[in-house]
Structures are given as structure tokens and as C-alpha cells.
């Protein structure tokens, strides 16, 4: 299709170019088109190959999850399941408290994300709209918080949580994660661009500062909330190191952590291991497909500094 358009375009262009000299004679033009078509085929081919390589491990998981363990171990067996053992998924689900882990992950990731959106909006709003003493210093602190890996401070954070007797609790998981430097930064950028007249008008009508924030400006931020929220949610959902050091009782573990324990318990039941991985991956995969646009936006937003 593209080649025909370019041929058409070429025909329109040729006379005009021809007046300048024999730059593009008809046979050369045809040769260029053929080269172009070849280049397009190569581009499609390379991208398709890359997609296959990227998707392969996940496809491998899907297939292995419904194979018999014997087929996985049999070197002569085909990669395609000779028989579909759908029962593997139920068996994996029943061999560990996945329901409880799922609930823990929902509570942790949900609460932490809502916290990050709220604190990010409030802090970003304050940075954008108000002048207060120490604003510059605090902003630099915020920027450094953006860059410093949270992971470097895990030891002292766990010490604080231990002093508070918050280990193995939801608040221990959630509270240290309710502030996000990235969130504050993104919302600051957004509110800097928001029209100040709206707030002034509401102020004249006698609205309080908090009302102005919640009723006037917060609703404007919906696109940022969606883009930042989905990225923050996925990050919290996939957080492994933090729950690993804060929680050590089975009933308080999150999905990622539970799965790593499952691995050590079923270290030779490769089909059950892959079925368990599938259980953990499936909900995120669904979210990723549905919210693809917001995820791309969130990734891009986070990098525009």
C-alpha cells in the first residue's frame, strides 16, 4: 500500500524534478521503490522477530503451566503440550494461600497508591501555588528523593518499623510507601501549568483553600492521576524487596513473596511452578493490556524532567 502511494507521489514529483536535470530517471525511481519495499519488509521482519523473542518466555510459561512434569523434563518431547493439564492451575492455587496473598497485595498496592496520589497532589499543589520559607531547599530535597534509590535506606527503615512494632502489619507495609517524590514532582509540573484565575475566582466567591484544591484543581489533574496512578500501582504491586524485609509470616505475605516461597517448596514441580507464576502474572497482564495507553503515558511522564 505504501509503495503505491510513494509511486503516485513520485509520478507527481518527477516532472518538476525533471526540469532540474536527470536526477530521478524512471528506471532509477523504480529501483528506489523496490529497495524501499525491501527495507519495509526488513523493518516488519525485525520488529516481528523482536516481539517473538520478548513474548517467548511468557508463552513458554503458559505452555509449561498446562504440561505434565514428565513432558517438561523429557528432552525429546515437543514444546507444545501433548495433553492439556488444566488441573495444574487449580492444584497450584490450592497448594498455597494465593487468595490471602492476593488480598494482601490488593490492600498494600491499593492503599500505597492512593496515598502516593494524595500526598503527591498536595505536595505538588503546595510547591506550585504557594510561597513558603525553605521552598527551594525542600524542592531540592524532593529532587534528590526522586533520584536516590529507596533500596539504599532499607536497613534504617526496617529499624524504625521495628521500634514502632509495625513489622508484619499492613501499616508497616503501607506507611513508608505513601509518599512518592515522583508523584509530587509530576503534580507540581501539572499545577504550575494550571490557570491561576480559576482559584482566584473561587476565592472571591468565598471558597476555602481546601475547597479550591478539591473542587477546582484536583479534578483538572485527572489525566495525570490516571497515568501516574497506574505506574505507581504496578510498581507497588510488583514491589518485592520491601515486603521481603518487613513481613515474614505467611499470612501477611504479598503475591511476589509468596511465589518465591512456593518456588522453594515445589522446586522440582516445574509445571506447578509455572502454573503459580501464571496465577501471579495473569491479573497484571490483564491490567497491562487494558490500561496500555495510560502505562505508556505514565512511563513517558516520569522521564520528562
Amino acid at each position: 500500500m505504501t509503495s503505491t502511494t510513494s509511486t503516485a507521489a513520485g509520478r507527481v514529483v518527477t516532472p518538476a524534478v525533471g526540469t532540474r536535470g536527470p536526477l530521478l530517471s524512471a528506471p532509477r525511481r523504480r529501483g528506489a521503490n523496490r529497495r524501499r519495499l525491501l527495507a519495509h519488509v526488513l523493518v516488519y521482519g525485525a520488529v516481528t522477530l523482536a516481539v517473538i523473542i520478548v513474548a517467548f518466555p511468557l508463552i513458554w510459561m503458559l505452555l509449561a503451566a498446562v504440561k505434565s512434569n514428565a513432558q517438561i523434563l523429557d528432552l525429546r518431547a515437543s514444546l507444545w503440550p501433548s495433553q492439556f493439564h488444566w488441573g495444574n492451575i487449580k492444584q497450584a492455587w490450592d497448594s498455597a494461600p494465593f487468595g490471602r496473598w492476593f488480598l494482601n497485595t490488593v490492600v498494600f498496592a491499593g492503599a500505597a497508591t492512593i496515598g502516593q496520589i494524595l500526598t503527591g497532589m498536595l505536595a505538588g499543589y503546595a510547591f506550585a501555588m504557594y510561597d513558603f520559607p525553605g521552598k527551594r531547599v525542600l524542592f531540592y530535597v524532593l529532587l534528590s528523593g526522586l533520584m536516590v534509590p529507596f533500596a539504599t535506606v532499607i536497613v534504617p527503615v526496617v529499624q524504625i518499623l521495628g521500634d514502632l512494632h509495625w513489622l508484619n502489619t499492613y501499616q508497616g507495609l503501607i506507611v513508608p510507601n505513601i509518599a512518592s517524590a515522583l508523584g509530587a514532582f509530576l503534580f507540581r509540573q501539572f499545577f504550575l501549568g494550571a490557570p491561576a484565575e480559576l482559584g482566584e475566582a473561587a476565592h472571591m466567591d468565598g471558597a476555602s483553600e481546601l475547597r479550591i484544591f478539591f473542587n477546582v484543581y484536583a479534578p483538572l489533574g485527572r489525566p495525570i492521576i490516571a497515568a501516574f496512578g497506574i505506574i505507581a500501582f504496578l510498581q507497588n504491586w510488583n514491589n518485592f524487596l520491601f515486603p521481603l524485609i518487613v513481613v515474614n509470616t505467611t499470612s501477611m505475605e504479598v503475591l511476589s513473596q509468596g511465589l518465591s516461597v512456593f518456588q522453594t517448596q515445589f522446586s522440582t514441580n516445574y509445571n506447578l511452578m509455572m502454573a503459580a507464576a501464571l496465577i501471579v502474572v495473569a491479573p497484571v497482564l490483564l491490567v497491562a493490556v487494558l490500561a496500555q495507553r495510560h502505562i505508556v503515558e505514565g512511563i513517558t511522564l516520569g522521564a520528562v524532567q
Partner: protein
């Protein structure tokens, strides 16, 4: 303000406690000066930093190269091509523990897909957990597979902001794809390159989950990165002082990377 409390307080505590000896929850601390730092360096810390350096260097080169390469391909104006960016995001967002488990199976001795392929090609099979360099290779391939999609998205976004008409004009003037990339797109991507370099480097420095799942830092500390060292010393061996000292070192390295970024971008914009 809250952010400040949560990032500064632990950081201060970290720097302070790195000068003392005592367990995670010890109530009495003994001042040991810089002893923890010298102990950390002599007790595997230097090796951990070396592993972190090798891993991060490989990670940055591969994840940025593949990210830019695929983004350039996806940026070609062909029907349906932009839809193919979606699969590259999936490894970035699905839980690392699960995908690392898949990696463990793919790279398993005997029945793993990689060894099957090696065997089918008549090449010797490899036990990827048996030698430090093979184990680090396995961790690196996973890291790159998982993360480079984010760079694809970032490069694609910056390529879209480049002036299309100028590049098309160059194409009409006879500039080939390589010339258009080398002399037009590459210089314009400078700012994005620095940014993506920082994001990729910080991600590489923080690699943890796949090491925990696949190798536990072994064999012989061959995959013990700085962060895994912090975890192992702090929460497995309970040498908190060593973990804190390494925390400070890793923090300073991350800060250094960021400062370089600010300096590079500042210089670039002054020149513009």
C-alpha cells in the same frame, strides 16, 4: 514534606549508624568510626561493587542499544507498526518474581530451553548456576529482557518530538537512513540520551529480585551486587554495620550519577 521525612530521616540514620556496630535492633551501639567501611570493603564489599559495575555497564549498553534500535524501527512510518510497541511493555510491568522463575526454567541444566537449543546446535550445554560469569550472564539477559521495553517507549516518545519536515527534507536531498540518524536524529537525542542513561543506570544499580530468585548472590558471590550485599549483610547475616556502610556507598554512587546528569544537561542547554 512527608517525602522529606521519609527520605531524609532514614538517610541520616543510615549515615549515622554506619559508624557503629550492633545488630538491626540492637539498643546499645558502639562507635567504631570508619571501621564498618573498611570491613565492608574487605569482607566482600569490593567484590560486590565490582560485580555491580560489570553488571550495570553491560545492562546500560544492551538496554539502551536495544531500546534505541527497536524504537527507530517502530518509528518508521508504516501501517500497523505502532501497535507492535505494546508487547515490549509487558515484561516491564509483570511481577519480576514470576518472570525470573520462568528464566530459571529456560536456563535450567538439561531440560531448559536454552540448553536444549545449545544441544540441538551441537554446542556444549551449560549449567548457568555453576560459574560466576555464566550466572551473571543469566542475570544480565533477564535484566535486559525485562527492562529494555521501557527504553523503547522513552526513545519512541523522544523520536516523535523530532522535527519530521527537516529530516524528510534531508531524505529528499539524498541523505540515507544512516546519515539521517547519525547527523540529524542522534545529536537531537542528546538530552533524551542523558536522561535515559540515568534511568537505566539507576535501575541497573538496584537490581535485586532476579538475583534473589535465580542465584541467591552465588556462586562464590559472583552475582552479589551492592544491593544484594546490603540485603544479605543486613537481613541474613545481621552485620548491620556493613549493610549500612554499603548503603551509604550505593547512595553516593547514585547521587554521583545524578550529578553527572545535571551537569551534562546543563552544559548542553547552555550551548544551545
Amino acid at each position: 514534606m512527608l517525602t522529606a521525612a521519609f527520605s531524609l530521616l532514614p538517610l541520616g540514620m543510615l549515615a549515622y549508624r554506619s559508624l557503629f556496630s550492633g545488630g538491626v535492633f540492637a539498643t546499645t551501639l558502639q562507635y567504631v568510626g570508619l571501621q564498618n567501611y573498611s570491613n565492608a570493603i574487605s569482607q566482600g564489599g569490593a567484590h560486590a561493587l565490582e560485580v555491580t559495575g560489570i553488571y550495570t555497564a553491560g545492562f546500560v549498553v544492551l538496554a539502551m542499544g536495544l531500546g534505541l534500535g527497536i524504537a527507530l524501527l517502530l518509528n518508521v512510518n508504516l501501517p500497523g507498526l505502532s501497535r507492535l510497541r505494546a508487547p515490549f511493555i509487558i515484561p516491564v510491568v509483570v511481577p519480576t518474581v514470576a518472570t525470573a522463575l520462568i528464566w530459571g526454567n529456560l536456563f535450567a541444566p538439561d531440560f531448559g530451553f536454552i540448553n536444549r537449543t545449545l544441544g540441538a546446535l551441537g554446542l556444549p550445554e551449560a549449567d548457568f548456576t555453576s560459574s560466576p560469569s555464566l550466572a551473571l550472564t543469566m542475570i544480565l539477559t533477564f535484566g535486559v529482557w525485562q527492562f529494555f521495553g521501557e527504553n523503547v517507549i522513552l526513545y519512541l516518545a523522544s523520536l516523535k518530538t523530532l522535527p519530521v519536515d527537516v529530516i524528510e527534507a534531508a531524505s529528499v536531498d539524498g541523505a540515507g537512513p544512516w546519515a539521517r540518524f547519525r547527523y540529524m536524529r542522534w545529536p537531537l537525542l542528546r538530552r533524551s540520551n542523558v536522561l535515559i542513561w540515568v534511568i537505566t543506570t539507576l535501575t541497573g544499580l538496584q537490581t535485586f529480585t532476579q538475583i534473589y530468585v535465580l542465584t541467591n548472590g552465588g556462586p562464590n558471590g559472583g552475582t552479589t551486587t551492592a544491593l544484594y550485599y546490603i540485603y544479605n549483610q543486613g537481613f541474613v547475616q545481621f552485620n548491620t554495620g556493613l549493610a549500612d556502610a554499603m548503603g551509604v556507598i550505593l547512595f553516593l554512587i547514585s547521587l554521583g550519577v545524578t550529578i553527572v546528569q545535571v551537569a551534562l544537561i546543563g552544559r548542553g542547554s547552555r550551548r544551545d
